[in-house]
């Protein structure tokens, strides 16, 4: 428990620490230093931020903008231009359905419809309980597997509506039964490792 406090204080000492004292900002700071606070590294930093936090919150964008000494409107404009950046907290579980030409022909729309009915959520949105995010993608490049979807990071091919609903339900049930929750577990691990490296570097 002591370690995060030390880091938080250190981050606060140089005047750039986040008021939340969130350790994850250490990873952002590391990426910023590696980029030598170069303004044209904005997109790379945004990628790191999204990897670490899962989405880009307004606070995070302000933090990055200040660190790079960029106008807030520029940071916001760049971030919102690219579809790869998201601005809402994703659910614990996700399903991205390909709606490209091949998948469309093979009935991807039925899968989207079935999942959005099953979980009462529109494509591109997260359920009210924050458990599940349903998104669509234009083409995942695996047209031979059409219709294809990525369920919690795993590519599933030759799906139909029933199989997709079942697969999502299985993942949701698995994390509901396990106390730790499959989606929340890897996060502390991922953060602990680079933060240690950052500490040595300074």
């Amino acid at each position: 428990m002591a370690e995060p406090n030390v880091r938080a204080r250190k981050a606060g000492a140089d005047g750039e620490g986040h008021p939340s004292g969130d350790d994850r900002f250490e990873l952002i700071d590391k990426a910023l230093k590696r980029a030598r606070f170069s303004q044209d590294q904005l997109i790379e930093i945004l990628h790191v931020a999204q990897d670490v936090f899962g989405y880009l919150s307004p606070d995070l964008l302000v933090y990055i903008g200040r660190a790079l000494k960029l106008p807030p409107s520029r940071v916001y404009g760049v971030a919102t231009f690219y579809h790869l950046f998201t601005f809402e907290e994703p659910g614990d579980h996700s399903c991205t359905i390909c709606t490209g030409t091949a998948c469309f022909v093979k009935g991807a729309d039925d899968i989207v419809l079935a999942l959005s009915r099953e979980h009462s959520v529109a494509a591109g949105q997260t359920t009210a309980d924050g458990r599940f995010t349903l998104t669509t993608a234009r083409c995942l490049g695996s047209c031979g597997l059409a219709p294809v979807a990525v369920i919690d990071g795993e590519v599933r091919g030759h799906l139909d509506a029933e199989a997709a609903v079942a697969a999502v339900a299985a993942n949701l049930a698995a994390s509901a039964n396990g106390d730790d929750g499959a989606a929340t577990e890897p996060e502390p691990e991922r953060i602990a490792e680079p933060a240690g490296v950052a500490g040595e570097g300074n």
Partner: protein, 248 residues
């Protein structure tokens, strides 16, 4: 825009007229210098080139039309600034701009001082053949002196550029993309809450439409003054303050 040293020595043909261009001069600069009209919307003397509105498309004998503002002259270039194809393109561009915004002149603060309105008149746009796309955006009246009506914005980015390049505040930028694209202040905050805005009003005077206006103006009462930027650029870069009203 920038001062040219020496004499123009690049031979160019523009609408059948043999002229000499400066090296590095854009087709638009040359055309304006020799008195050949080319319509523009996003271009504004004194600001960087945006090349977004595509109204200045000209035929250079290449396989595709080129934006005159962003295309440098080359020796022996043969430019056609207007023909039936180009006129049709321009008319459609103006129509599309009308279709995607709230450009009802009869209710617009800038009627009579609007470059989009002038372009529509010039290109005989009396019908919109496309589905109307507004209203999509909101109005930001949070600033004490100015109003931003995003549905009247044509995304020429003059305000973005003048705020960044002349005032240096960079309050504005374009957020989102495609149909959702819109001008935002800061981190998409109300304009009136922007700590960077100096209230200088340059974005308002350069706006080609009724998107940016002085607060409290009624229909047709807004008057823009985009030439202010050329005056400022000349004053800043050359140290020459030319009284624009005396000149006119």
């Amino acid at each position: 825009m920038s001062p040219r040293n020496g004499r123009p020595n690049v031979p160019v043909t523009i609408d059948g007229q043999d002229v000499k261009a400066f090296e590095g001069e854009s087709i638009l600069e040359l055309a304006r210098r020799v008195g050949v009209p080319i319509p523009t919307l996003c271009h504004l003397e004194g600001l960087s080139i945006h090349g977004g509105c595509r109204l200045c498309l000209v035929d250079t004998g290449d396989h595709k039309l080129k934006p005159a503002c962003a295309t440098e002259v080359t020796a022996e270039l043969d430019v056609t600034t207007t023909n039936a194809e180009i006129r049709e393109h321009r008319r459609r561009i103006v129509e599309l701009l009308f279709a995607e915004g709230n450009h009802i002149c009869a209710f617009c603060v800038s009627s009579g001082s609007c470059e989009l309105q002038d372009l529509a008149t010039e290109h005989h746009v009396d019908h919109i053949h496309y589905e109307l796309g507004y209203e999509r955006h909101d109005v930001d009246a949070s600033h004490p002196k100015y109003v931003l009506d995003r549905d009247r914005c044509v995304l020429c980015t003059r305000c973005v550029r003048v705020c960044d390049e002349v005032e240096g505040a960079h309050v504005w930028d374009v957020a989102m993309r495609g149909n959702e694209a819109r001008i935002v202040a800061g981190m998409d905050i109300p304009w009136g809450e922007s700590s960077a805005c100096t209230w200088c009003g340059k974005c308002v005077v350069v706006c080609p439409t009724g998107a940016l206006s002085f607060k409290g103006r009624a229909t047709g009462e807004m008057r823009h003054d985009p030439e202010l930027v050329a005056f400022l650029a000349r004053a800043r870069d050359e140290g020459e303050w030319i009284d624009r009203r005396a000149e006119a």
